[in-house]
């Protein structure tokens, strides 16, 4: 324990010294960040508050159903934190040079584990804490909760909820490392994918948001009473259910029924942490040795794709410079498991979403309900672009790392380098964004008896959104580089990345504000037969293009300027 506090002390000193740097540039940058964070906090608060008001008052959805939606969102949140932690923990616990260094010192394995586990949890969850807290503020202030409610829920419900997810993540990771020594890395990763896929499938089979939306459409407005009979039994064993039930009973003023759910969550989290410590004490060092073996087994001479397009010895139609840049990006991506695994997970989840949403059967011809459904789906699609870009585009320049000297000292136009990265990022995000845009709009095309206007507008918006979001992430990724960080997930969790994500969200809210009016008019034209002029969609479409182009230009300027800086 003495070791732990000793090392923590120096980590805190290092953090404080690097954070509270009193140079003018740092202070100005800090103030800028603070203003942006503040703006985001206010925005998230207002948004969460208004959504709660809209759902409970305008759509008359009811407390129970609203909390079922919250439960589903929390499940997605829990899974995202869990998967993210598995991937980040691998780097933090097994590939960090700090761990190798500490293992040579007389420090117990469990102390090293706790240190890196907390490091990992706090580092990767700072932004999520902020998001969770501001959303909670907006939600809670609708019900008029006192200040201590927010502090209490944050400390005793949401933080334990995320901590529990992180505990599961390291348990799974240590199990993977243990099994890897017997089964091999690829087989274990395949198994892990299978298990997660089945788990997510089962959850959405028994608690399907699409079904829920369809039931709302079918039984509106008497949905609350009807759906209260539908809760599947197994949901009560999931932590997201405990949190949503806690919030639900607090909202109903029934604290006696709410508190046991918080108690269960706290107890399980504490138990999980104790189990993690016991397992780590027994297996952490052994599994670290396994990770070294996995690394060593990869050091055999490489013969992969020697005859393919990607072989550096072959040439294609591209100029030599573009070609080697593309190949370098390709191999750097493919040979870093945390990159392709994470992309694969996101693509699979997107495909599940696309397949589910494409079959959504909307029946209700009420403008408010369908506007909300559309905006939720539209928001999700935009959020997906933001997340993808933050995770894969933002780190693109940072991942050049210290080897960037080889590119910067070569006779290569930096605009060419920037454009190559931009097009690569844009290609991935654009394809997925268009897929989602089509899927989101298909149910609405059906609802409007085959009129494709909304589909075209959705695809048009997806183009501008993906273009702008990729531009923001690449430009700001260059402005806030972390050349010493090799882990892309950690690059995506830096303060600069958080700011970039917030800027992306602000842009997304702006887009929603641009499309909300024409969308309302269009839905009204369908449901109450009001006249709808094409100009109603051309004007916001033009505005969207102008706003996006300006943002793309500004971001490219920031990114290119940052490439001119001293390296």
């Amino acid at each position: 324990m003495t070791h732990l506090t000793h090392i923590l002390k120096y980590k805190v000193i290092s953090f404080v010294k690097s954070t509270f740097d009193l140079r003018f540039v740092t202070i100005a940058r800090g103030l800028g960040s603070l203003m942006l964070f503040g703006g985001f906090a206010v925005g998230a608060y207002v948004l969460s508050n208004e959504i709660t008001r809209f759902i409970l008052e305008q759509t008359r959805t009811g407390l129970y159903l609203y909390h079922r939606f919250i439960s589903m969102m929390l499940f997605v949140f829990f899974t995202a934190v869990n998967l993210g932690n598995i991937i980040v923990s691998y780097s933090t616990l097994y590939k960090s040079s700090e761990v190798s260094y500490l293992f040579t010192k007389p420090v117990s394995y469990s102390n090293i584990f706790v240190l890196k586990f907390l490091d990992n949890f706090l580092y990767s969850s700072t932004t999520l804490f902020l998001v969770a807290f501001t959303v909670l503020l907006g939600y809670g202030s609708y019900f008029g909760y006192p200040w201590y409610f927010f502090a209490g829920v944050m400390l005793f419900v949401l933080v334990p909820f995320m901590f529990l997810s992180a505990c599961f993540a390291v348990l799974v990771l240590m199990a993977i490392m243990k099994i890897t020594s017997r089964w091999g890395f690829r087989r274990v990763m395949g198994l892990l994918f299978g298990v997660y896929f089945v788990f997510i499938y089962l959850f959405f089979k028994f608690s399907n948001p699409i079904e829920l939306v369809e039931e709302v459409n079918r039984y509106y407005p008497n949905i609350d009473q009807y759906l209260s009979q539908m809760t599947p039994g197994f949901l009560s064993y999931l932590p997201n259910h405990w949190v949503s039930e806690f919030l639900f009973y607090v909202a109903r003023g029934d604290l006696a029924r709410a508190l046991p759910f918080a108690g269960i969550l706290l107890g399980v989290t504490f138990g999980a942490f104790v189990i993690v410590l016991l397992v780590a004490n027994r297996f952490y060092y052994l599994s670290w040795l396994v990770s070294l073996e996995v690394q060593a087994s990869k050091s055999a001479p490489y013969s992969m794709m020697k005859t393919s397009f990607f072989d550096f010895r072959n040439r294609s139609v591209f100029s030599p410079q573009i070609e080697v840049l593309l190949k370098k990006e390709f191999f750097s991506f493919l040979r870093e498991p945390s990159q392709w695994i994470h992309l694969l997970v996101m693509v699979i989840l997107t495909i599940i979403f696309v397949m589910s949403i494409g079959n959504l059967n909307l029946r209700l011809r009420v403008t408010e309900i369908q506007l909300m459904t559309y905006l939720v789906l539209f928001g999700f699609a935009g959020f997906l672009s933001c997340s993808l870009s933050l995770r894969f585009v933002f780190p693109m320049i940072s991942l050049e790392g210290q080897a960037f000297w080889s590119v910067l000292s070569a006779p290569l136009d930096r605009q060419k380098l920037y454009l190559t990265k931009f097009l690569l990022g844009f290609f991935i995000v654009f394809v997925l964004a268009e897929l989602v845009a089509i899927a989101v709009n298909i149910p609405f095309v059906r609802l409007s008896a085959g009129r494709p206007l909304l589909l075209y507008f959705g695809m048009y918006s997806a183009f501008w959104i993906s273009l702008s979001i990729v531009a923001i992430n690449l430009g700001f990724g260059g402005y806030f580089p972390s050349f010493n960080e090799k882990n892309p997930i950690r690059v995506s969790s830096t303060q600069g990345a958080t700011l970039t994500f917030l800027v992306s969200l602000v842009y997304l809210v702006t887009v929603v504000a641009i499309v909300i009016l024409p969308l309302t008019r269009y839905l009204e034209s369908l449901f109450i037969f009001r006249q709808f002029n094409l100009s109603s969609i051309v004007q916001p479409g033009t505005l969207l293009a102008v706003v996006s182009t300006s943002l793309v230009g500004f971001s490219a300027y920031v990114g290119l300027k940052s490439l001119q800086r001293d390296f």
Partner: protein
């Protein structure tokens, strides 16, 4: 040919390089020495285009490295003090990568890479990922990559770090060979014997200012004023 004219580099209020003026002719081997933090790496990074000078001009082979940086870089090879490579690429892939950046023709590049692999004796591990390389292996790949496009000017920061005796000899011989071929070499080093052995002219920098810049012959004269050792001259000048 390298020309530095009144080059200054400031980081905030700190002046790392102060009005540095010097010239390295074609085929000349110039050794750049100085204590830690004297401004050697900063000077070299400005020449390689990684830092921009606060004031002054750097002209390499007739091209200004700021205004005409692409043309200047086409003629330069830079070897950094720390041989960082792209971890996920193999050594051979890295060589192809660098060759592509210099727009080398495919056939020429194949041939050149095979030559360099043989010359630097790296065939055994050149197809492994560079993340598994030792410091010396990385250094050899970096120097091989620098030679790939037959540069007119070599800018090298601490080339001998981490090299075993055999590799160090290969690198020394290669540098001598290049110099004899007419390549200008600007080498920063902490190793006084290496500088004495290889360089035609030596410059010593202290606190960003050049405190000594002369030929080997003149250096011999200076040495006699002390105890005949270059180390004593260096310590006195950088005191």
């Amino acid at each position: 040919m390298i020309e530095l004219r009144n080059v200054t580099k400031k980081f905030g209020s700190f002046t790392a390089v102060n009005s540095l003026t010097l010239q390295v002719k074609a085929g000349e081997f110039f050794g750049f020495l100085g204590p830690n933090g004297a401004g050697k790496t900063t000077t070299i990074k400005m020449m390689a285009g990684l830092f921009s000078p606060t004031s002054g001009e750097i002209v390499i082979n007739g091209h200004d490295v700021v205004k005409d940086h692409l043309a200047a870089k086409q003629t330069i090879a830079y070897v950094p003090d720390q041989p960082f490579l792209y971890d996920k690429l193999t050594g051979r892939e890295f060589l192809y990568f660098v060759g592509g950046l210099y727009k080398m023709a495919r056939g020429v590049l194949h041939k050149r890479i095979e030559e360099l692999i043989g010359h630097f004796e790296i065939g055994e591990w050149v197809d492994k990922r560079t993340e598994d390389y030792s410091q010396g292996m990385r250094q050899r790949i970096t120097i091989a990559a620098a030679m790939i496009h037959d540069p007119k000017t070599l800018i090298i920061d601490e080339p001998m770090i981490g090299l075993d005796p055999r590799s160090a000899k290969i690198v020394r011989d290669t540098l001598k060979e290049q110099s004899q071929k007419g390549v200008s070499i600007f080498m920063s080093t902490h190793s006084l014997p290496v500088a004495e052995e290889l360089c035609d002219r030596i410059g010593i920098i202290k606190n960003g200012k050049l405190v000594f810049c002369d030929t080997q012959d003149k250096l011999q004269v200076y040495k006699q004023q002390y105890d005949g050792k270059f180390e004593s001259v260096f310590l006195e000048l950088t005191k």
